[in-house]
């Protein structure tokens, strides 16, 4: 369980990346959603002991992130955003070296890395240098590290950024193989909706909303999204588009007027707050 209390991070240039963030995780897969620059990576790096907070406290399974650093590091795995394997080493060598770093013997590292890579469908590719693997396969190497380490808590910072849709689905399946508590960050709402038990919305360094996907979508119950390139009264304007939320009965007003009607998704939690989402 991850617990944060008034966690704040101010950089030396005066930029406040996190502003008194407080939350507690409850589910097995917890997802932090937010736009680029919202503070997701900063929060993940602080929780995984890579970055010192300016103030506030946080703990992982009761261990303080500033006082119990060695204990925490033994019990977590943190896969950084846009981490890339060393192209010259094979998938098995990379996972093996990671496990050795975590205290495995050479033999155990070799065996465990083989099992993890095979479980992710990389068995036939495990002895190829990483620079010969596809983007999705490269990301799976890191997921294999998380699986093989059997850490209590796994931090995955934007694990599917830049991947094509098929590779993303493959990596999602791989993430489900991890048995630990997972703290995932993403700006893909589909990813959060598909994987998470609990979602935290980070906005300008603050937790703006949290709950299960169902909780977050509750305000939109019975509604649909209407998008239009021409003005709609009382709609939210994002870029050159107007977006409004209406009940199913009200959609008839918009038919035949060049509007698009879409079902509600986690995107709308962002959009309703006047924040553009990336897709």
């Amino acid at each position: 369980m991850i617990h944060c209390e008034n966690l704040t991070k101010k950089y030396s240039d005066g930029f406040t990346a996190l502003n008194s963030v407080s939350f507690e995780t409850t589910g097995r897969i917890n997802t932090l959603i937010g736009r680029n620059g919202a503070g997701k990576t900063t929060l993940t790096r602080i929780l995984s002991t890579q970055l010192m907070p300016t103030s506030g406290t946080a703990s992982i399974n009761g261990m303080d992130i500033t006082k119990d650093v060695d204990q925490i590091r033994r019990s977590i795995v943190s896969i950084p955003q846009e981490a890339s394997p060393l192209g010259i080493l094979t998938a098995q060598e990379q996972v093996g070296m990671f496990l050795i770093g975590r205290g495995h013997s050479f033999r155990s590292a070799k065996e465990e890395s083989r099992i993890a890579l095979e479980s992710l469908g990389l068995g036939d590719f495990r002895n190829l240098p990483a620079d010969k693997l596809s983007g999705g396969m490269k990301r799976k190497i890191f997921v294999a590290m998380a699986i093989a380490s059997r850490a209590e808590t796994v931090f995955l910072d934007e694990p599917t950024t830049g991947l094509d849709p098929i590779s993303r689905i493959e990596v999602w399946s791989a993430i489900r193989e991890i048995e630990s508590e997972i703290f995932l960050t993403t700006h893909y709402m589909e990813e959060a909706q598909d994987l998470s038990e609990h979602v935290f919305l980070l906005e300008h360094g603050n937790i703006a909303a949290s709950g299960t996907v169902k909780d977050l979508l509750k305000p939109f119950s019975g509604k649909v999204r209407v998008e239009s390139h021409t003005e709609i009264p009382d709609a939210i304007k994002i870029g050159a588009m107007w977006i409004s939320y209406v009940t199913a009965d009200e959609t008839s007003e918009y038919l035949g007027k060049g509007c698009t009607i879409k079902p509600i998704s986690l995107d709308d939690v962002f959009i309703s707050r006047g924040v553009e989402v990336e897709s």
Partner: protein
């Protein structure tokens, strides 16, 4: 100390690279071999022993110094270092592992120079032992500088430029490939800021090529300790 990780990193990033990326080996040897050729031609062969002895030092120092680019690239672009911060690996384990990988990576060049040295009959047992000792200190000093510099690089775009400048200035400018008596004392002391200078002076002394200069021995030992200590404290691990 996580010895298994040190061995694993050194083996993977040193030995594997030799076989899977041989062009890097040729690249690391090209500068010392080119300078050996130029010095031999310009001196009509009289300074070939200096260039051979200097080649050992130039090779290992240039590999270690240019590795600042690698270390920064691995930290900033590959996020390789971040992966290990949140684990049982300590900054010292990481630094020692990478340093040993550079030593392993330099081995083909060292073997080539050893063959050339044997052909030109420059070796005595005492000189070889002294050279090994000097090279060990040199790799610690230059790798430490490398880690200090790589930690201060904030943008990937600066990585290779800074590494290239350091490698050339700190290995070619000092009296690595020519007698140290050729430059004025003040210049020698100024150049002693890079560990390659005292290493070259001591190596020339050990091989009987130049007269002894005991001050450079003290400088070499003290600055190696200072650079190593600075690297331990200045290398970014958990960031503030």
């Amino acid at each position: 100390m996580n010895l298994r990780f040190i061995v694993s990193l050194a083996w993977s990033y040193g030995f594997r690279v030799i076989f899977r990326g041989p062009s890097y080996i040729i690249s690391s040897m090209s500068a010392p071999l080119t300078l050996l050729f130029i010095v031999s031609i310009l001196s009509h062969g009289t300074l070939i022993n200096y260039a051979l002895v200097g080649g050992f030092l130039g090779l290992i120092a240039s590999v270690a110094l240019s590795s600042s680019g690698d270390a920064a690239f691995m930290r900033l672009q590959l996020r390789f270092q971040d992966l290990y911060v949140a684990s049982k690996v300590s900054p010292s384990d990481y630094m020692i592992g990478l340093t040993l990988s550079y030593v392993i990576f330099s081995l083909p060049g060292i073997i080539l120079y050893a063959i050339l040295g044997a052909i030109f009959h420059i070796f005595t047992l005492g000189a070889v032992l002294a050279l090994i000792g000097i090279m060990c200190f040199l790799v610690v000093g230059t790798s430490s500088i490398s880690f200090i510099v790589s930690s201060s690089i904030k943008h990937v775009r600066n990585v290779w430029g800074i590494a290239g400048i350091m490698s050339v200035i700190m290995t070619v400018l000092p009296p690595t490939f020519y007698p140290y008596e050729y430059i004025p004392k003040w210049a020698l002391y100024a150049l002693s800021a890079t560990p390659v200078t005292p290493a070259a002076v001591l190596a020339q002394w050990a091989f009987g090529l130049s007269p002894p200069m005991i001050n450079e021995l003290y400088i070499f030992v003290i600055e190696t300790i200072i650079y190593f200590s600075m690297a331990r404290y200045l290398t970014r691990w958990r960031e503030n």
